[in-house]
Structure formats: structure tokens, C-alpha cells
Amino acid sequence: MDMTLILDFKCSGGLELLCNSVKIHNVSIDPENGVGKFIMKDLLSWVRSNLIKERPEMFMKGDTVRPGVLVLVNDCDWELSGQLDTTLEEKDVVVFISTLHGG
């Protein structure tokens, strides 16, 4: 591949506990689908294989995020950009945030 994608992704609302309490990750990823296009679905698989060390069910359900997790791409709900099909580009910022209930 001639393209390496560098992007930030952040976890909060408790999700950082799944990633050794690290909230901000700066990652470089080589897209593997051969077309040079990298979508949210690819990022989720990458995160699942490379970062989530324990209790993956706290992060994923099936091939998407578990209920109660909001996904933001450049400060915008991924429902507005195509969910799993959202195309990611260089310098995009992806945030996974677990909704809170405390008060």
C-alpha cells in the first residue's frame, strides 16, 4: 500500500479503561482492502485486534460498537456521516464515548 493513515482516536466515559486507561491514541494504519480507502468498519476491526485487550464486549457488539457508545468523527455523530461506512481521511479525529448515567 502506498498510503498510511494517521489519525487520532479518543476514548472516554469509561471506555479508556479498556485501553490501559489511555484516552488519546495517535495511530498509523495501513489500509488493507487494497483500494486505499479506509472506513470506520476497518478502524473498528483494527481497534478490536490491536487495542482492546480485555472484555471486548464492553466496546463491540457484533461488528459495530455496543449500545450506549456514541461515535464521533470530527466532532460529529457518525449517524450523520454513514456509520460503519464513514470514510476516514488523514488527520481525522475519531472519538468513542460511553454515555454516562451518574449524577
Binding site: E57, R66, D75, H101, G102
Partner: protein, 287 residues
């Protein structure tokens, strides 16, 4: 509730003079506020500052729902309660403090747990609902009840060193279920009692809830609808993000929804979320 429905009394003009001086708020904003009624569900970490600022600001009627009693381990964040009220009703305690800072606001005490059996009747007396509770089933129940009754909902949450805030069911915006159609697994639902919370974090979110309720009541500014504020106290970072709009497929507020008062009253929120609506004081004492 005001005895001056069309004008402000001389005492009100003096008390609220700093509001009246604001060109974008002014007499009209204060008058609308004085005619509005706001219900705060939960007199805990979020409810404490929300109630204080709503009372101080001069809303017409202010309701408080809670069934809990004040405990010493609440005091680090629930600043509306004094030590003298430990062991007594949170609603009585909060109401007494609200009256002490503004005797001109009508304070209504609802000393009971909010349930599907009483929520419709309680909500019917108020224009705006503030969700200051601490658990998932209450959040679904309050949002659903707001949809059924067509009331805007100012929703805040805080846990650990983080907070979240948004306005649901306002002016065509999404409801809680539009964002979270399926409840999270119970293992992902931490409470302050389990995971802790830095006291001032719900303080900040509760103040922001009061602000959003005041903006809606006075028809001033742009409420935080379709947007969500995410607060990270440790890093001192705040981001306001754009969230989805109302979902046509939403089971409660969507186009083909048949979720009305009758369905609400029969819905089992504890079963839906697999979480109890409240930890009973008895159970707490056994821990």
C-alpha cells in the same frame, strides 16, 4: 404563580435588576421566566446547583422529585443540603434551601420515587423537565414521559471526572431513545456510588442544566438541542459535538410510534435496562 402576571413588582425589579439590564434578556426574559414552571428530577449532585440557580433566577414554580434521604457521603457534592438535614428527606432539605435564598418562588415538594404510575401526573404540572437522576432506567423513563407529554428535557450526567449535557425532545430534536435505542449492558452502567465522582463535576454540569432550562423558559439564546457537551475535568477539555436529529424509526418519538400514555404506564423500565430504578436506602445500609 406570580401575583404580577403582566409586569414585574418593584421587589422583583430590584432583585433581578442584573437580568433586566441585559439587552438580550431584559424584562421580557424575566417575565417569561417568572411565568414558567420547571421540574428537577433528583436532588443530588446535579440537582443541587440546578435547583439553587433556578430558584435564584426567579422561575415561577420549581418542583423537586426525590425519595432519598441526605447521607454524609452525599455532602462532598450535594451542596444544597446542610449537615443538619442528614438522615432527612432530600426534597425537604433542598426545598428549605431554595426558599431561604428566594422566598418569592413557589417550591413544590414531591417526596416520592418517580415511577410510571406517578410520572405523567407530576410532569403535567411543569413546562420543562430537568433530568438530574443517576441511573439508566430513570433516564429512559423520563425521556419517554417527556415525549408522551411533549415537554423539553434538559439532561445532564456526571461520573468520575467527566460530564455530559444535552437537551432532548425540543423543537423537533431527538429524544434519548433516538440516540440510545438499545440500553447498554448493565456492566457498562457505572454509578457514582460504585465508581466515584469528583464533587464539582456534577456541580458544573448541574449549573449548565440550569442555564439551558432558563434559556428555554425565557426563550433566549440557542438551547443545546442536536448538540451534546462533553466535559473532561482532568484535562480541562470541553467539546460540543453535533448529534443526530430525531429518528423516524424511533420507537417512542418516531413517525409510526404508538407509544402513548397507556404504553408508558405499562412499560417495565427496570426489565428493559436490567437495572433497578433506585437502590433502596435499606439495601444501601446493608452494604
Amino acid at each position: 404563580p406570580s401575583t404580577f402576571p403582566h409586569a414585574l413588582s418593584p421587589d422583583m425589579i430590584y432583585r433581578y435588576s442584573r437580568h433586566l439590564l441585559l439587552p438580550s434578556f431584559g424584562v421580557q426574559g424575566q417575565l417569561r421566566l417568572s411565568k414558567s414552571s420547571i421540574l428537577v428530577v433528583g436532588a443530588g449532585g446535579l440537582g443541587s446547583p440546578a435547583l439553587l440557580y433556578l430558584a435564584a433566577s426567579g422561575v415561577g414554580r420549581l418542583g423537586i422529585v426525590d425519595h432519598d434521604v441526605v447521607e454524609l457521603n452525599n455532602m462532598h457534592r450535594q451542596i444544597i443540603h446542610t449537615e443538619a438535614y442528614i438522615g432527612q428527606s432530600k426534597v425537604e432539605s433542598a426545598a428549605a434551601t431554595c426558599r431561604s435564598i428566594n422566598s418569592t418562588v413557589q417550591i413544590v415538594e414531591h417526596k416520592e420515587a418517580l415511577r410510571t404510575s406517578n410520572a405523567l401526573e407530576i410532569f403535567s404540572k411543569y413546562d420543562i423537565i430537568v433530568d438530574a437522576t443517576d441511573n439508566a432506567p430513570s433516564r429512559y423513563m423520563i425521556s419517554d414521559c417527556c415525549v408522551v407529554m411533549g415537554k423539553p428535557l434538559v439532561s445532564g450526567a456526571a461520573l468520575g471526572l467527566e460530564g455530559q449535557l444535552t437537551v432532548y425532545n425540543y423543537n423537533g430534536g431527538p429524544c434519548y431513545r433516538c440516540l440510545f435505542p438499545t440500553p447498554p449492558p448493565t456492566t457498562a452502567c457505572q454509578r457514582c456510588a460504585d465508581s466515584g465522582v469528583l464533587g464539582v463535576v456534577p456541580g458544573i454540569i448541574g449549573c449548565l442544566q440550569a442555564l439551558e432550562a432558563i434559556k428555554i423558559a425565557s426563550a433566549v439564546g440557542d438551547p443545546l438541542s442536536g448538540r451534546m457537551l462533553l466535559f473532561d475535568a482532568l484535562a480541562a477539555r470541553i467539546r460540543i459535538v453535533k448529534i443526530r436529529g430525531r429518528s423516524v424509526q424511533c420507537e417512542v418519538c418516531g413517525e409510526n410510534s404508538e407509544f402513548k400514555a397507556a404504553q408508558f404506564q405499562e412499560f417495565d423500565y427496570e426489565k428493559f435496562t436490567q437495572t433497578p430504578l433506585s437502590t433502596s436506602p435499606l439495601k444501601l445500609k446493608l452494604l
